[in-house]
């Protein structure tokens, strides 16, 4: 068949193409990092927000919820939960605190994580910070 297209040419396309597009990816990453301060709400990252992120991670919240659309699809999106709950940290704290230990018969229920008041405040602050990240207009509406 096409003897004009040799294995050596295929190999060169592979190495050349991969290197070229990886370098392009690095360039775009560099530019992204330069632009991020305008988008990622980093000014709001306090020690409390950082603690909130740890609480988020160490209770594996992503195992049921999505955050900015990434995670599991078993429970509601939480990237905008702060606005969905009427811009209220108290509502978030109250919800997490009031989960019944043994669940709700026949229904999905969030576990009772027995978080301390400090951790509850921190997770609410973290979710507030997340809701203020510029996500190009996503999600389409407040239901997430």
């Amino acid at each position: 068949m096409a003897q004009t297209f040799t294995k050596a040419m295929a190999r060169n396309i592979f190495y050349g193409g991969s290197v070229f597009f990886f370098l392009l990816f690095l360039a775009l990453t560099l530019d992204t990092n330069r632009t991020l301060p305008e988008l990622d709400n980093r000014a709001a990252i306090t020690e409390q927000v950082a603690l909130g992120k740890r609480v988020w991670e160490e209770n594996n919240c992503i195992g049921c919820h999505t955050l900015l659309g990434e995670g599991a699809y078993f429970a509601p999106e939480l990237g905008n939960v702060y606005t969905r709950f009427g811009n209220s940290k108290e509502a978030i704290v109250g919800f997490i605190k009031s989960r019944p230990k043994d669940g709700i018969p026949g229904r999905r229920s969030m576990p009772q994580f027995n978080l301390s008041d400090e951790e509850l405040e921190a997770i609410a602050e973290f979710l507030k910070y997340t809701s203020e990240i510029n996500t190009a207009g996503w999600p389409p509406n407040t239901q997430g």
Binding site: F5, K7, A10, R11, I13, F14, G17, S18, F21, F22, L24, F25, L28, D31, T32, T35, L36, L39, D40, I45, V49, R54, W56, E57, E58, N59, N60, C61, I62, G63, C64, T66, L67, L68, G69, E70, G71, A72, Y73, F74, A75, P76, E77, K101, I104, G106, R107, R108, P111, Q112, F113, I133, A136, G137, W138, P139, P140, T142, Q143, G144
Partner: protein, 468 residues
């Protein structure tokens, strides 16, 4: 089996199959929790079952990749493995570390596991697919380094073929990009940005190199087509994979606080990501059609053709379905994503591992080239049961996803998440039934190893070698 040290692949393959079985059982638990919300609550909450389900998948695929490498590299390099004892030692370390991690998930509350394993010193836990305690992640790095040393030295000291070089490159990339799992900044956007360097650059990047090289190996062995032809195809396929897939990472950067130009880069390049998968399908069928002999292991050829088709459908078609940013605006983080994830992982990675196991296992168990007729027939039944039921799982999840998108995001009066979930419960029930059929297929698969082991091998002479 041409080289004694290839035998180290056997425990890797057996462990892979065992963990695959466990993964499916937890998948069924989760599927049931979708419809009977309090099933096993609070003993095994959904997040724990999911963590076990996804982590087992990754671990058993890694076992499969490593077994594949230990089997095929000696044959490609035409020499014994550098250090077979090291491969066996790493097998036990990886298996025990994996088992301990899963037991930790199941027996200790996750926050307790984080505390026990010192997550505060280097917090890496609690991110999707990277839930493993930091110490497990360090263990993975050690195992990967020992593995790469073993495989790398064997390749370097022996015959260097395109198949083994591409495999080595893929495995090297796998190890390098895993290092980003240790980078977990407080800034959520940056955290997510580099999290994808593990997840996307694995499954839509370097893992495809591993997939391509294993497929090429199986096709060389079973079809007898000239290596030069197959290697040229392999280069072209993986070239297209990385040319489209690297910038294609951008399809994850639409809505996570990254600049909006990613909507263009991501849409255009990821729209081309099906191309290498389609080429893989054409490649596999072409090689089998041009075969110069009829290999007696028909099951292995079925898996090889199957993976090429299903990877194109799952990764290519179902990926394209929701990759354009105006579409993804509505589908992002819905059951559409779950549908795509299931078919893509099954088609591309589950099936290629089952293909190499199918090809190699008869030799590893002391046969000449293939299992008995009865065993192969049962294995092919398992192929169809698992593949067809996975297609239905995907279709039901797609149905659920379309309704979810409409009711929650697209219609005039968007409804809350949980209200929508209750309305689409029918699809979740059907998915669970399809999952049970998958389990039956998997049981057939495992049984096929024990059926007809005393019967004679299937024997087929050389195919008619007429040039037509």
């Amino acid at each position: 089996m041409q080289y004694k040290s290839q035998a180290v692949a056997k425990p890797y393959f057996i462990a892979a199959i065992g963990l695959f079985m466990a993964q499916i059982l937890f998948g069924l638990v989760m599927g049931l929790q979708y419809v009977v919300g309090d099933f096993l609550f609070p003993e095994i909450p959904f997040n724990v079952a999911r963590m076990v389900h996804t982590n087992l998948l990754i671990v058993w695929l890694l076992f499969g990749f490593m077994g594949a490498a230990y089997y095929l590299v000696p044959e490609e390099a035409e020499r014994e493995l550098q250090a077979p004892w090291l491969a066996i030692a790493m097998f036990w370390i990886f298996l025990i570390a994996g088992a301990l991690t899963v037991l930790g998930y199941l027996l200790v509350p996750y926050a307790g596991l984080a505390e026990m394993t010192g997550n505060q010193y280097l917090p890496t836990m609690g991110r999707e697919f990277l839930e493993q305690p930091t110490i497990t992640k360090l263990g993975i790095v050690v195992v990967a380094l020992a593995f790469l040393f073993n495989i790398g030295m064997t390749v370097l000291k022996g015959r260097k073929t395109v198949v083994s070089l591409v495999l080595l490159l893929g495995l090297l990339g796998l190890a390098v990009f895993f290092l980003f799992s240790f980078y977990n900044p407080e800034n959520l956007v940056q955290d997510k940005y580099y999290w994808w360097w593990v997840v996307h650059l694995w499954v839509e990047g370097v893992w495809e190199l591993i997939l391509g090289s294993i497929l090429a190996f199986v096709l060389i062995k079973t079809t007898g087509v000239d290596r030069e032809v197959i290697e040229k195809w392999l280069y072209v396929i993986i070239a297209m994979t990385l040319i489209t897939g690297i910038i294609g990472t951008g399809h994850h950067y639409y809505w996570i606080g990254t600049p909006e130009y990613w909507q263009w880069w991501g849409s255009i390049f990821s729209a081309m990501e099906p191309i290498p998968f389609f080429m893989m399908t054409v490649f596999a069928f072409n090689m089998v059609n041009r075969r110069r002999r009829n290999h007696p292991n028909k099951a292995a050829i079925l898996w090889a053709l199957g993976t090429a088709v299903m990877a194109f459908l799952g990764a290519g078609v179902w990926g394209f379905l929701h990759t354009l940013s105006p579409v993804n605006y509505y589908t992002h983080g819905t059951q559409i994503t779950a549908a795509h994830g299931h078919l893509a992982f099954y088609g591309a990675y589950v099936m290629i591992v089952l293909a190499i196991i199918s090809y190699a296992m008869p030799m590893l168990r002391g046969r000449e080239a293939a299992n008995s007729e009865r065993s192969q027939v049962l294995e092919m039944w398992s192929f169809w049961l698992m593949t067809v039921s996975m297609v239905f799982i995907t279709l039901f999840l797609t149905g659920a996803g379309i309704l979810q998108v409409f009711l929650q995001r697209y219609s005039e009066n968007p409804q809350p998440f949980m209200a929508v979930q209750e309305k689409i419960v029918l699809f979740y029930w059907l998915r669970e039934i399809a999952g049970l059929v998958f389990l039956i297929g998997l049981i057939c698969y495992v049984t096929s190893f024990f059926v007809g082991s005393r019967d004679a091998e299937v024997k087929i002479g050389s195919a008619a070698t007429s040039p037509a």
